[in-house]
Structure formats: structure tokens, C-alpha cells
Amino acid sequence: MSEAPAAPRTVSADIGLLLKPPQPRAGWRLLPARVVAMCAVELQKLRHDRTELYTRAVQPALWLLIFGQTFTRIKAIPTHGLPYIDYLAPGIIAQSAMFIAIFYGIQIIWERDAGILNKLLVTPTPRSALTTGKAFAAGVKSLIQAVVVIVIAALLGVSLTWNPLKLLGVGAIVILGSAFFSCLSMTIAGIVLSRDRLMGIGQAITMPLFFGSNALYPLSVMPGWLQAVSKVNPLSYEVDALRGLLLGTPAHLSLDFAVLAVAAALGITAASSLLGRLAR
């Protein structure tokens, strides 16, 4: 400490703006502003530390490289004439986006333990807006991961569309899907309240969600009970839409969008109602 200890500290800098409370945003503009704020934080974090982006690229690369190439050779799965690796690529994009989102609740619990969540809850941010912001932040994180997987797939020779409108659709689908899975994760976080338990539950549900979807094989080859599971699994609708947009296979795009939007809305509602438990 170089300053003289006797003199009381004063604020020498100009703090004129800090005397004036900011103008509150009008009701309808509040939600988009909070979503932007949460997404900005996620992007800033990714800019400072890209390790996760690289390490998380390993698994999807292996799926495409090993599983994809092998099953392309043995032609065991009916794909309507597509090379299996092409058929698989959208499934792996959806899977890697889901893996990120499904563990997003861990970050919420970490933020709770660090006091960050409490501090955000004492800002003029309704709980539903905070959850929506977090859900879309998870979506942005997943979207960047999806871009990485799309690039890997393209390098492996998968013939994907480069139509910008369709790619925009891909982005929207990935964000909606991840918003749902991150809310599922935050809902579980609100119930179990501990990182370890959430980690265990996350591990337990990711594989059933993945194998119980059309990511690896079409609905037609599944036994009846698995078809039923797949039909209520939002991941199936995400994969269906991604396949339709990226490969041009027949898809039910409006149904897929509708199911994912409704799932995301339900997820946000559930996670918001449990957020209060995390504040206690």
C-alpha cells in the first residue's frame, strides 16, 4: 500500500453515471434483453477458454470416423440409398449438442454454490426470463459445437447442403433442441440440488435418449416398444429435422419445429418453477 494510511479513501474518478438509476425496459423488451445478456456471457467464456470445444469434438469425430465408416461398409442399416455415414451425421450433430445441454444444469449448480445465481435472482429478471436466457445460452454453446461437427462431417466427405436458408433452419433446430435438454437438466438440478447426483442422472439418461431415438437407425428397424420411446423423444424430432435440412431426406419439418418449440416451452416452465429451490 503506497498511499498515506491516515487520509480516508475517496472516490477520485468521475462516477456521475452511477448516481442515476438506468431506465427500466418496457415489459416485452425485457425477455430478449436477458436472453442476449446470457448468450453474451456464454460466448465470452468460450472466447477465453476453447478447451471444451476441442475436447468435445473428439467423441463425435470418433462416432463418424469409426462407427460411420464401418457401418457404411457393412450396409446393415436401411438408409434409402444414402451412405450410412451421411445418414449418421445429423444424428451425431444432434447427439453432441444434446450432450452439452444435458450437463448444463451442473453449471447452474456451480453458479448457485458460487452465489452467482442468487445475485442474478436479485436483479430485475423474472425467473422465467433467467431460465429462458440460460436455455438459449446453452443453445448457443451447442450451436457452436454443432458447427464443429458439421465441419468434421464435411471433411469426412458427407455431402451436406450449403444452402444458407437451410443452415439457418439447422441453427434454429439445434438451439431449440438444446434449450429443451438444458431445461431438462436445470429441472433435475432444481430437484437433486447437487452436482454429483446430477452428473449421475445425466450419465444415466443420455445413452437411453440417444439409443432411443432415430439418430443411429431408422424407426422402421426398431422393435415396437422402442418405436414408442422414440416417438416421445424430442431428440428424434431434432434428428428428423436435421436430416431433412442437411441431406434433403423426406422429413416432417413443421411437426419437428412444433414439437421442439413446445418441448422447449414446457422445459422452461418446469425449470423456472424449480429455480426458487436453488435460491434457498
Binding site: 479513501r9 474518478a13 452511477l18 438509476p21 438506468p22 434483453a33 436477458r34 465470452q44 445475485k119 430485475p124
Partner: protein, 273 residues
């Protein structure tokens, strides 16, 4: 309706049957630095969490500048700057990004955002370190960063929960000097909890001694100390700690500080390093 900065009447809050706060009455006047004192487990943090709208309380129990926390929590939050007990800056963001987040969630307009964030950082002497990751900050710097995060929205009431916990004496003094300097410059009301009686004595205008969920004694530190000296009929100078022992009576040593309390305190201390 009162226009005090904070007024609580008969506040009661229970966790799983245990009353953490029980018949808590408190009035904090506008412009003062009010210290809520008490040992671990006295209910300070629970009271703070009720005032900050984190815990749900029935209508009519808490008013902040005349607004009911139950009736209009959003309006109350716009008046508050809150620094929780844990070191709550995000270590994966820079100091500037940490403050910018709070500027955004308090609706600071984009055109003045950068300047306002800069002023908040300057007010706590963090301009030079603003673009480093908060993970590289010392404990005292993180507390100052949290102060900047709270200041960026120009709150009328600053609430700090154990702001100096786990800090070394020099950092503790530094944090208090910044709190006082900012109060001096902005005129805001400060409500602070602490279990360091010496800090309260030195820096608070008025203190409330809290024990088992209720405020047991209230006044300026001088009043409370003189009161005890008169009661004992001695000339020896009493300390706030003496006053506290007198108020709380026996059983202080084995009471308070449940496991969760101690664990969260340890965690904060660990992060301070």
C-alpha cells in the same frame, strides 16, 4: 407507509421446522451504514435473503423504500445492489465482463453501458485489472469487483453479506474503505452483516445485535458500549463483544453455526485463498 430504506416487522422464516428468523424487527434509515451483527447461525443471512426477495415472505412484512418485497419484487430489486457471502464474481470472465453482465440485466442502455461500467470499475480502483480474468484476482480484488457489479445499476440500498469474511486484515480495511468512499460519493444506504464486532464498531453508524433469529439490541456502537458500562457501573470501556455477550447471555459458545453454515464459510475462505 414508512419511507425508511428497510423496514421489517415480525419477520419469521423457517427451514424445515427450524425458525432461522423469528419475530425479526428492523428499521434501516436512509443514508446510514447499518451493521447486522451476530454469530454464525444467528439468522443474519436468512434475514438478508428475505429482504433481497430471494426467499418468499408474506406480504406486509418487509418494505424497501416503502415498497413491499412480496407485492412488487421487481421494483424492490431495481433499488438493490447485493453482494452475497460467497465470492460471486465469475472467474471465467474478465472484471469488465462481470460488471457488463450486471449493467445488461439492470437495463443500462447500450449507448452508456461501456462508460458506466468503466466508472464502476474506476470507483473501486480496478481500471488497470479490468481486462484480466477474475480468476486471477486476489480475494480483496474480487470483493471490490463485486462492489462494482452492485454499483453499476446505481442502487439506493447496498446490501453486503459478510463482505470481509476470509480476507486478511489489509484487504478487510481496503474493502471497508471502498464501501465508505462509495457511500460518501453516492449517498446510498448500506446494510451489512458481519460477525467481526471490531469492524462494526469502526465503520457502522448503527448496529443491531442479532441472536437466535431476532434483533436483541440496537443503537450506535457508542451507545451500546456506554449502556453496558453504565449497567455494570464501571469505568472500564466495554467492547461490542462485551455488549453482545451481555445480550446473548450464556450458551453462546455451544450455539449456532450449523454444518452448512460452516461449510459455506470454509468454501468462501478457500476461494479467497
Amino acid at each position: 407507509m414508512t419511507s425508511a430504506a428497510v423496514s421489517c416487522t415480525g419477520l419469521t422464516y423457517a427451514f424445515a421446522g427450524t425458525k432461522a428468523v423469528d419475530g425479526f424487527d428492523l428499521t434501516v434509515e436512509e443514508g446510514e451504514v447499518f451493521g447486522l451483527l451476530g454469530p454464525n447461525g444467528a439468522g443474519k443471512t436468512t434475514a438478508i435473503r428475505c429482504i433481497t426477495t430471494l426467499l418468499p415472505v408474506p406480504a406486509g412484512m418487509i418494505h424497501v423504500f416503502g415498497r413491499d418485497t412480496a407485492g412488487d419484487p421487481m421494483a424492490v430489486r431495481r433499488l438493490l445492489g447485493y453482494v452475497p457471502q460467497q465470492l460471486s464474481a465469475d472467474a471465467n470472465l474478465t472484471g469488465r465482463e462481470n460488471v457488463t453482465l450486471f449493467a445488461r440485466v439492470f437495463d443500462v442502455a447500450r449507448r452508456e453501458r461501456a462508460e458506466r461500467v468503466g466508472q464502476a470499475l474506476a470507483a473501486v480502483d480496478l481500471t488497470d485489472a479490468a481486462d484480466r480474468l477474475a480468476g486471477t484476482y486476489s480475494g480483496g480484488m474480487i470483493r471490490r469487483l463485486e462492489l462494482a457489479q452492485a454499483l453499476v445499476s446505481a442502487p439506493r440500498l447496498l446490501i453486503l453479506d459478510e463482505p470481509t469474511i476470509g480476507l486478511d486484515p489489509i484487504a478487510r480495511t481496503g474493502v471497508w474503505e471502498h464501501i465508505n468512499a462509495v457511500r460518501e460519493a453516492t449517498g446510498m444506504t448500506v446494510l451489512v452483516t458481519t460477525h467481526y464486532m471490531d469492524e462494526a464498531d469502526q465503520y457502522c453508524d448503527r448496529v443491531g445485535l442479532m441472536h437466535r433469529g431476532r434483533v436483541r439490541a440496537l443503537g450506535t456502537p457508542g451507545e451500546l458500549r456506554r449502556g453496558l458500562a453504565e449497567k455494570r457501573g464501571t469505568d472500564t470501556v466495554a467492547t461490542l463483544e462485551d455488549v453482545f455477550r451481555d445480550v446473548a447471555g450464556s450458551g453462546l459458545e455451544d450455539e449456532g453455526g450449523d454444518f452448512r453454515d460452516v461449510r459455506s464459510t470454509r468454501r468462501t475462505a478457500n476461494r479467497v485463498g
